[in-house]
């Protein structure tokens, strides 16, 4: 059942649930930060509309810097602003930033510990029709290994707004990962947001824990609901903060269930699954199944067509749960 303590959206399983894009939440959060802190500035690489920096740029033109199609310069300009008392947000598609400008961010933002927030948009297969060139599917893996940086993947637009505001209130670098399409809203304004892992779906005597991040968490919740009808009990946990990772909760839930699934719109290697596996290998080796891209690039299609093809949808999660249960009882 949905965890009543988290004040989640009770209508999320309606035939047509309320939907919005996480990038929309980012845009709102950025404006809210601009309203409350005159030191917040934003930069974008010729994608203000699709990264939702547009509202901030219109409302605060003096604090918005268009960088043109030049992601390396955008990142290092932001680093210079960040060491000069500003809170600098940079926005582009994640394949370009932190993709194309990876080393620039490594040196001038992460190592330099400059007050820069990197908003990586159009992440994952959800980018859909644009195809694999524009579907960032390695970004979590490539940035979470940097010291000094936090990595946050909001699950819906409401959480995205909260995560953006929270990122603007700390002085160290943060990577925020957003998606393009509208997806079901799972949380409400009253759902707490504190960087800890939250059990969105709870049950007595769970057999498996599913750790999910980003919009695909909804597929995990759909799976949990269907599995309940088959008398298979699972926990679905939302991991918004991949770094720092709520390690205690990872171990606690792995111990309680004895089998772990990770779900992310990203390569199965190196992202959320990798982070969880690192914690468990050190503390409590546990059978795991990884839902994500299996060392392959995406392609053109709708998000739902793509997650079906690449075995990242509700049905694939259900199969993974059953496989994990077999593995732990074998």
């Amino acid at each position: 059942m949905l965890n009543p303590n988290l004040k989640l959206n009770e209508n999320m399983f309606a035939e047509k649930p309320e939907v919005d894009a996480t990038r929309t939440g980012f845009g709102k959060g950025l404006v809210a930060l601009g309203d409350s802190d005159p030191n917040v500035v934003a930069l974008c690489a010729d994608l203000t509309e699709s990264t939702k920096v547009e509202e901030f740029a219109k409302k605060y033109p003096d604090r918005y810097f268009e960088a043109g199609v030049a992601e390396q310069n955008m990142a290092a300009m932001a680093a210079g602003l960040g060491v000069s008392g500003k809170v600098a947000f940079i926005a582009s598609y994640a394949t370009f930033s932190p993709g194309k400008n990876w080393e620039t961010i490594r040196t001038t933002v992460a190592y330099n510990n400059s007050n820069v927030k990197i908003a990586g948009h159009h992440s994952g297969l959800m980018t859909g029709p644009d195809g694999a060139t524009h579907q960032a599917t390695e970004d979590i893996a490539s940035v979470r290994v940097w010291p000094n940086i936090q990595v946050v993947v909001p699950c819906d637009s409401i959480e995205a707004e909260k995560a953006t505001v929270a990122a603007g209130k700390i002085t160290t670098p943060v990577y925020l990962r957003f998606s393009r399409d509208k997806s079901p809203i799972m949380t409400t304004k009253d759902t707490p947001y504190d960087g800890k892992i939250q059990e969105f779906w709870t049950t007595d005597n769970p057999q498996v824990v599913i750790f999910g991040t980003g919009w695909l968490l909804y597929q995990a919740l759909l799976a949990a609901k269907e599995l309940e009808e088959e008398k298979i009990n699972v926990v679905v946990a939302n991991v918004a903060s991949i770094k720092p990772l709520d390690q205690e909760k990872v171990v606690e839930l792995a111990k309680k269930t004895g089998a772990v699934i990770t779900v992310e719109d990203h390569q199965a290697a190196g992202g959320l699954g990798g982070a969880i596996a690192e914690v468990l290998a050190k503390n409590l080796p546990t059978p795991m199944e990884f839902i994500g891209l299996q060392d392959t690039f995406g392609e053109t299609g709708t998000p739902l067509e793509l997650i079906k093809k690449f075995k990242m949808d509700k049905d694939a999660i259900i199969s993974a749960v059953k496989k994990a249960i077999e593995r732990k009882t074998a």
Binding site: V41, Q72, A79, G80, V83, S84, T107, N112
Partner: protein, 286 residues
Amino acid sequence: MLEDINDEKLKDLELKAVEARELVIEALLEAGSGHSAGPLGMADIFIAMYFHVLNHDPKNPTWADRDRLVLSNGHICPIQYVALAMSGYFPVEELKTLRKFGSRLQGHPHRGALPGIETTSGPLGEGISQSIGMALAGKLDKKNYHVYCLTSDGEHQEGNTWEAIMAAAKYKLDNLIVVIDRNNIQIDGYTENVMPLDYLTAKYESFNWFVQEVDGHNIRAFNTAVNQAKAVHQKPSVIIAHTIPGKGVDFMENLPEWHGKPPGKEEADKALNELRTLQGKIEKGV
């Protein structure tokens, strides 16, 4: 505006530049690795910056109104470390810890490691961009400080450098002054063979910058150029400083092979002898 440099002041700065070169040689010998040619070639400009041009306070390195100096080609940091030490940011004796375990003098400059380092640099092509960020912050905060970005010619082969050159002109950053160490060498050889850069003047002018060329070993001319640059409105400025890599040490001058290596003991002794002779000549005014 900067004060003119009278004869007495010029002599003092020139002597300091020779002393700086000696300290560079000693630090590199002690370190056993590092770059020789660039630091020696930029000694005159670094001394001019820290002892005349910059509005700074070594005892208060985070003073909000200070001028910022960003070293984009971080590999020539030995000369920046020497200039920082000589001007009082930290003890001169500490220069001998360059590149050693536990030292504040990291192999490339790192913000927070050492007072006076404004930002982390080393990977080429990132300094002008970061300087733009600092210059934009200065404008937003209505501060009067200038941002000086010292770069190399070789790093103008980086695409990021040209992204920055476009952006600085777009934002009309008249509080940004870029100084290029035009010494014509890089690790693999002469710049014009590795990847031709000429003519930087025409390139910068076409990107809408105010461009000047100076002899990078003529401190008085450099000072005049900085004054000209500060007088420009609505445009960023670049000073292309023609320098001799390895300047002051005869057997290192103009040779790409000295770009990326330190002197050995005998070479260091020879270099120091030569520099001390030069010092004597300047003192006697010959």
